[in-house]
Symmetry: C2
Subunit: 552 residues, 2 copies
């Protein structure tokens, strides 16, 4: 019996979590990878810098990988590239601005690999083995974002990338709905679509709303206007420049990352600055305050951002002063709420006027809400549907929307990372699951920190550590003198001097009574138990106990 080979879709990251987006598409001897993003660590991942996708599935298939196709230049889609390319150095395809951002990133990492970067303009195609990939323009919170039309021998796959519909986008390039409708008429086998905001009813507002707020604030503020946003939100930077120009304010870009990205975007033609608007920071102090606009990072309250440094008098050129108006043009990324709140509080304390998402329409997000998601499905009319990019509840909501627009329930697949979906024009099913782990980047190393070290960090973060140092006579095995006890992060060592002193005697007593010759009972387990019980009884804390035994 002859069966036509199927297309395999395997998400390696991004399903069930926000970030580290990466999807493998495999057809016979050809593999393409869509996106290679990182994830910022959750609160419980103590000390971890980044999380990247687990590509061990590709280990023995490296020669089949035809390329990595990137939808847009955000960290959660490009951030893992330096790590991935050092393991599989295949060509990378993306639009011009996205490649610009990738180059900046690879340079920062000083990777030794010579990356093969190819620019693909929106609307054009590349052939990657049996795959033909067309990039189509979509609106998102970074210019030059694309979705993908992937022609495969099994059928046409549409991947939305991160997208929203905006009929009046800042760069004048709306999502190409006509192209999608054409495909819908032609017949699409599978749609993978962005679920990030599938919880939200209605439509995401146009960026135009933000432009209007900026205009009003630039017009009405008597002092300087300081706008903070993500450096990658180039369309927002464009809006700030437009609005400042309209109201006669010179624009000063403050901070390294905002400068790097803005200048790259200017060089590539994605940021248009009218003649004479941009100022050098040295010119700032000669200008009346109502002729000044500053653009910088810090919308997340990051302690190292330019805004927070300006606030803490830690920036050499600018400090936030009474009379300034500060706009946080971004929503707090989940986990950053407390930092953002603290920053807003400090701004108010310094006498600044502050605008942020809860009190003024100074930000719109970059993802489609429910009605837009339904519109996309109406245009593309896929036979099969896989919600991508989102935590499980987002995927669930998106699947429900798909059902609501008439896609049969059995044709909708909520996948998790590692699930293998095998699909052709007449059937689709999950045929297996590969084992996927979070790969932690901590300092210079990738993947060496595992659950044990995180567990240890967690214990020490809560109750500190107690080191018990025990000297045994090398001949008799009996303790020599009292054990020493040193602690860090457990108790105030001055206030709790008596407690620590007492613990030495408790431990000595326990060691004296255990074991015949005094030695066999003296082991790490006994020492730990003795101290653990004593300290818990005395303090209700559970420090890590680290026994150090040596013979003298």
């Amino acid at each position: 019996m002859f069966t036509k080979p199927k297309l395999k879709i395997i998400p390696l990251g991004g399903l069930g979590e926000i970030g580290k987006n990466m999807t493998v598409m495999e057809y016979e001897d050809d593999i393409i990878i869509v996106d290679a993003g990182l994830m910022f660590p959750g609160e419980e991942m103590l000390g971890i810098d980044l999380v990247i996708p687990d590509i061990s599935y590709l280990e023995d298939k490296k020669d089949k990988v035809r390329g990595i196709v990137i939808t847009h230049g955000h960290e959660d889609h490009i951030g893992a590239l330096p790590y991935i390319l050092s393991q599989i150095n295949v060509p990378v395809y993306a639009t011009k601005l996205t490649q610009g951002l990738i180059s900046v990133k690879l340079k920062e990492h000083r990777t030794r690999v010579e990356a093969k970067l190819h620019v693909v303009p929106p609307g054009e195609q590349v052939i990657l083995g049996k795959f033909r990939v067309e990039f189509f323009p979509v609106c998102h919170s970074i210019p030059d974002s694309t979705g993908l039309i992937i022609y495969t021998p099994a059928g046409i796959v549409v991947h939305s990338g991160d997208f929203k519909l905006d009929y009046t986008p800042v760069d004048g390039k709306p999502t190409d709905l006509v192209r999608l409708a054409q495909l819908g008429a032609q017949g699409v086998m599978l749609l993978l679509s962005d679920s990030t905001y599938a919880e939200l009813p209605g439509y995401t507002p146009s960026e135009m709303v933000v432009g209007e707020s900026l205009d009003r604030i630039m017009a009405e503020s008597a002092g300087r206007v300081i706008v903070t946003t993500f450096s990658s939100l180039i369309s927002r930077v464009q809006q700030v420049i437009n609005s400042a120009a309209k109201y006669g304010r010179r624009v000063f870009i403050v901070g390294r990352s905002m400068n790097d990205t803005s200048h790259m975007a200017m060089d590539l033609g994605y940021l248009n600055v009218p003649e004479g608007i941009l100022g050098r920071i040295e010119e700032l102090h000669g200008l009346p305050h109502n002729k000044v606009c500053l653009i910088t990072t810090g919308s997340q309250g990051e302690p190292t951002s330019a805004l927070v440094r300006m606030l803490n008098r830690d920036n050499r050129q600018v400090h936030v002063i009474k009379g300034d108006t500060v706009i946080l043009s971004a929503t707090p990324v989940p986990g950053n709420e407390a930092l953002v709140n603290r920053t807003v509080d400090t701004l108010f304390k310094r006498g600044a006027e502050v605008f942020y998402d809860r009190v003024a329409p100074v930000h719109v997000h970059g993802h489609a809400s429910q009605e837009e998601l339904k519109l996309l499905m109406n245009l593309v009319r896929p036979k099969y549907f896989v919600p991508v990019h989102g935590e499980y509840r987002h995927l669930t909501f998106h699947a429900k929307l798909a059902e609501a627009v008439g896609i049969p329930k059995e044709n909708i697949f909520i996948l998790g990372d590692g699930d293998i979906l095998e699909i052709s024009s007449d059937s689709a099913r999950i045929t297996g699951k590969i084992n996927i782990e979070d790969i932690y980047v901590d300092g210079l190393s990738v993947g060496d920190i595992g659950d044990l070290e995180l567990h240890n960090r967690r214990i020490m973060s809560r109750d500190g550590i107690v080191v018990a140092i025990i000297a045994l006579n090398k001949d008799t095995g009996k303790p020599v003198g009292l054990p020493d006890i040193v602690s860090r992060g457990f108790v105030d060592s001055v206030e709790a001097k008596d407690l620590l002193e007492k613990s030495r005697h408790i431990l000595a007593g326990a060691m004296g009574t255990t074991g015949g010759n005094g030695s066999e009972g003296i082991n790490n387990v006994n020492i730990r138990e003795t101290l653990k019980n004593f300290f818990y009884e005395q303090t209700h804390r559970h420090p890590m106990i680290l026994p150090v035994i040596f013979k003298v």
Copy 2:
């Protein structure tokens, strides 16, 4: 020259932060305290259980304190009582339900002090030295909430407590606007008012909105309905019971804290349960699913809550199963977002239908929004105004609202914890500031954990610890053998075996070359520097380095 004594208002907590509300009011030799709340620790307060107000100001004034007046029974208003009463055991005045909650709390803490608790019905007054305090009913997310009218020789002070306006509250007891209007006519010197939601425009919706949602869900769900909320949100529990009764569902209360609080509220008459509605958990399994409603805690995704246990198959009586409908009738407390998201994801994975604040009107909060705050000021017409309860930005917004309704700017005081406001009917000014610290409760002890221990915990939480054990010859002072290196939470000790081994030699080498006789250069600072530099160079991590030197 004779000056009339002034009233001193000193916030000891709750201004510039959410929680640990406590205000001192002092007139000559009489002091009263309003509220004694706790604050849940911020992310940066590693391992800390609670934060309570600093009452060192009262240390030498204990005999002047006439009593503690409590506005309502939430943790941020009563939670510090067990700690405060063990230091100043003065009478506590509150309404009946609030006293019920205080009693439960004191019992939990097994405090040895015999608390003097006095019930004051709303509308009644108590005399506390030169203060006369009247409790007036307000709406909030717990029944029996009150504001305070405090008659002082300097003038009348109104304290709103935590409040909102709800013309259709669940318990039928709206905020007493008439009483406030009478006072406004009479002349109020100072209003202290709740700022928690001063950022929000408009009006807070009535609890009725939630009742309607509950009705719809109870009516339409084919399976069991599980409602989670705070155990103290007794009016919500009442709404769930009402709605379940209406649609013929038996109600089962699951979990210790929900049971304790609900039964206390029933005993005191604050929760009315129709005959035959409440079921014992043993009866649960005989009932058809559409005749069942469960009420429990877990709306914050707390790992120890009944809901999360039911979800993790860790509850002996009930597990969440496919077909259940789960309602999270609460907003995530800031900092709990990630836990709540994870819980919602797991509920969806188990096949439950889930309703939560972002997707359905299943919760309204308990604080006044901007229009309500303005209405209160319009009725009370205070001469002076102090916004209370809130982070700095909330206080700032509230102060702006006060200006907008016509209170002169110079009569509005944004205080911080410790500020001393001296006030009389014809003048008010900040005359000083007492030093206020966060008092941390960690396990059994109060106040012993300081910044140093938190700093140590932070370092270990990020990069772990390295203990370096060095034996020196007691006669020559020279190192005996290679030093030992033990680490926890720093690197994988198997994977990084070579690194750790190498560090022993690096350290030995450094010790060999320092100092004349090999001993004077061997000190903690040198050891730390050597290892710090070596490990940073190799890993880009900064573990805590703990040298242990002993002589043999």
